[in-house]
């Protein structure tokens, strides 16, 4: 599958830009520190560790402590980027994230690595597809970059923003979105394709797939709007009003469809302007298998998204 092939031209593992951006920021701002759980390599922080050996705190395999230490470092005037596989960062330490970071409102940046189903074959314990549902209700800005450019912008924005942030990164190679003159606006959806027949709302690794679905549908004479919905919390309500005005919505996420982006959109439309919403994503615990196979199996493909668009259009009143 082209979308998962690491060697496909123009496809990039966004962990590289995450760490080069963090290093640039850390050169300029001595308050920036990294906190990890034996995850130096998987967070690509080896060169950060070489450059700033005193500014990488490895607490060992101890996620609850890792989040608590992040809160404490913020209390002490540091700007911690706490980086770990997002399944353990959010799941294992959920109460620490809720109480010590969000509720206590500490200036901590949580960086979830290899999120979604990046660890395909390692199974449901290592998939991080419940994180949107867990974190969306909290006092926490949740950002899911769609490509390398947006990853860099999100890291820069998080560093200067005073407040808790969850950056949900991926290791799955993605192409740069073909959108001219981009400006990163947290809390605002980005229009990737415009159209009036329906709106596809996607985030992270699935945005480029949604754009390709729209290109297919265009050939059939269906004009889709495609939104890159990088901020899951808070929601861009204006963009959702406009999406509802197209009369049908498809949501796409590398996450569980219960409580995630699709859930958020369905909650919003049910309250404000009921329209058919088709949710593309994962229904629950997944079988073992490689990430590109899981994407195909659950319809996170241009064809699968286009089929969901037809279902949504069929339900349009």
């Amino acid at each position: 599958m082209a979308h998962a092939a690491p060697t496909a031209t123009g496809f990039q593992d966004c962990r590289n830009i995450w760490v080069s951006t963090l290093e640039q920021l850390a050169e300029a701002d001595p308050r920036i520190v990294a906190v990890v759980n034996d995850s130096v390599g998987s967070s690509k922080l080896n060169s950060f560790q070489k450059k700033f050996p005193d500014r990488l705190v490895n607490v060992g395999i101890a996620e609850q402590v890792m989040i608590g230490v992040g809160a404490g470092l913020a209390n002490g005037g540091r700007i911690p980027f706490v980086s770990a596989a997002s399944c353990f960062l959010t799941g294992r330490a959920l109460e620490q994230v809720k109480a010590d970071i969000a509720y206590a409102n500490f200036n901590v940046k949580l960086v979830g690595q290899s999120s979604g189903v990046a660890y395909g074959e390692l199974g449901a314990t290592h998939h991080s597809i419940e994180d949107f549902a867990w974190l969306r209700p909290l006092n926490l800005t949740v950002i899911v970059p769609a490509d390398a450019w947006e990853t860099a912008e999100a890291v820069k924005w998080a560093a200067q923003h005073d407040g808790p942030v969850y950056l949900r990164l991926s290791r799955m190679p993605v192409p740069d979105l073909d959108v001219p003159k981009r400006v990163f606006r947290p809390g605002k959806a980005e229009t990737v394709r415009d159209g009036r027949d329906l709106t596809i709302i996607a985030c992270g690794t699935t945005v480029h797939l949604a754009a390709r679905a729209a290109d297919r549908l265009a050939v059939e004479g269906i004009a889709c709007r495609v939104l890159n919905f990088a901020t899951i919390n808070p929601l861009d309500e204006e963009a959702l009003h406009q999406a509802a005005a197209t009369g049908a919505i498809v949501t796409v996420e590398e996450a569980n469809i219960h409580g995630g982006l699709g859930g958020a959109v369905a909650e919003f439309t049910a309250s404000h302007r009921p329209v058919p919403v088709e949710r593309v994503g994962f229904p629950g615990f997944l079988p073992t298998g490689p990430v590109d196979w899981l994407f195909r199996e659950y319809g996170l493909t241009p064809e699968g998204i286009a089929a969901a668009a037809h279902r949504a259009l069929g339900r349009k009143g």
């Binding site: 390599g41 607490v59 060992g60 395999i61 402590v65 799941g91 390692l122 079988p287 298998g289 490689p290």
Partner: protein, 271 residues
């Protein structure tokens, strides 16, 4: 069975299990061979010298329980369960293939012989503690063994479980720590040091023993010794990647996978 017969069985099984696990990892190009190989002699000793089980009756109420807390070492666990007769050899090549029952981490709903799902570290010991409490409550005769990594001991949940075991004097539980001194990225002592592990567990109320984790005879006598009056902790000093020269004590083999030449070399050494 006479002790010498048992020891030669354990040696044969451990060799077959190492070859089998490495073949699975080579084929899948995924896995955790370093931690598979440090644990292999402990698993072979338990399953072919110590544990009381019947692969035809995995739900037998009085079976001894083994909990693989370091769930990433499925190469070792699946090779062991297969050798013990829980499932046929022709399932092994499906390791981590789409919809395989041989998931990257063990799932009790997929395979017989797995007591609980693990993978996130620091889960197995608390579950084993519950299994041991159930045995205490019902007066059952089974014993509970749990194997954790040493890096895994950095998870606080282990120490919460240790406190419960010590408090309740769970003599029917044995905690085995695979003390290979390496975790995912580096040595345990340079990451978040564990020493002195023996004093720590003694302070928590355990009967603590150290053993060479590749010495089948020493493992056999220690692990089959009758329970005493308190929980037991066995610190098994091991070598990560034990048995394959280029893997031994090399951190990157935590989740490194062999190319064809490395695989062939390993098969030459594993005889």
């Amino acid at each position: 069975m006479l002790t010498n017969d048992k020891l030669s069985l354990i040696r044969d099984k451990a060799l077959w299990m190492r070859r089998t696990a490495f073949t699975m990892v080579h084929r899948a190009q995924l896995g955790h061979p370093g931690g598979d190989f440090s644990a292999m002699d402990i698993l072979a000793t338990l399953y072919f010298g110590v544990l009381n089980y019947d692969p035809k009756r995995p739900d037998w109420a009085d079976r001894d329980r083994f909990v693989m807390s370091k769930g990433h070492a499925t190469g070792a666990l699946y090779a062991t369960l297969c050798a013990a007769g829980y499932f046929p050899e022709d399932w092994l090549p499906t390791y981590m293939q789409p919809k395989s029952l041989l998931n990257g981490h063990p799932n009790r709903n997929y395979l017989p012989g797995i007591e609980t799902n693990t993978g996130p570290l620091g889960h197995g010991f608390p579950v084993a503690t519950g299994i041991a409490i159930a045995g205490q409550l019902t007066g059952a005769s089974y014993r509970t063994f749990v194997l954790t990594g040493d890096g895994e001991q950095q998870e606080g949940s282990n120490w919460e479980a240790a406190m419960v075991c010590g408090h309740r004097k769970l003599a029917n539980l044995t905690l085995i720590i695979d003390r290979n001194r390496l975790q995912q990225g580096a040595g345990t002592e340079e990451t978040s040091g564990l020493d002195p592990l023996d004093d720590k567990y003694r302070a928590f109320g355990f009967d603590v023993h150290e053993v060479d984790g590749h010495d089948h005879a020493a493992l056999l006598s220690l692990l089959s010794a009758a329970p005493g009056d308190r929980p037991r902790c066995v610190i098994a000093n091991t070598t990560k990647g034990k048995g394959v020269s280029f893997m031994e004590n090399v951190a990157s083999w935590h989740h490194g996978v062999p190319n064809d030449a490395q695989y062939a070399q390993a098969m030459k050494e594993l005889v």
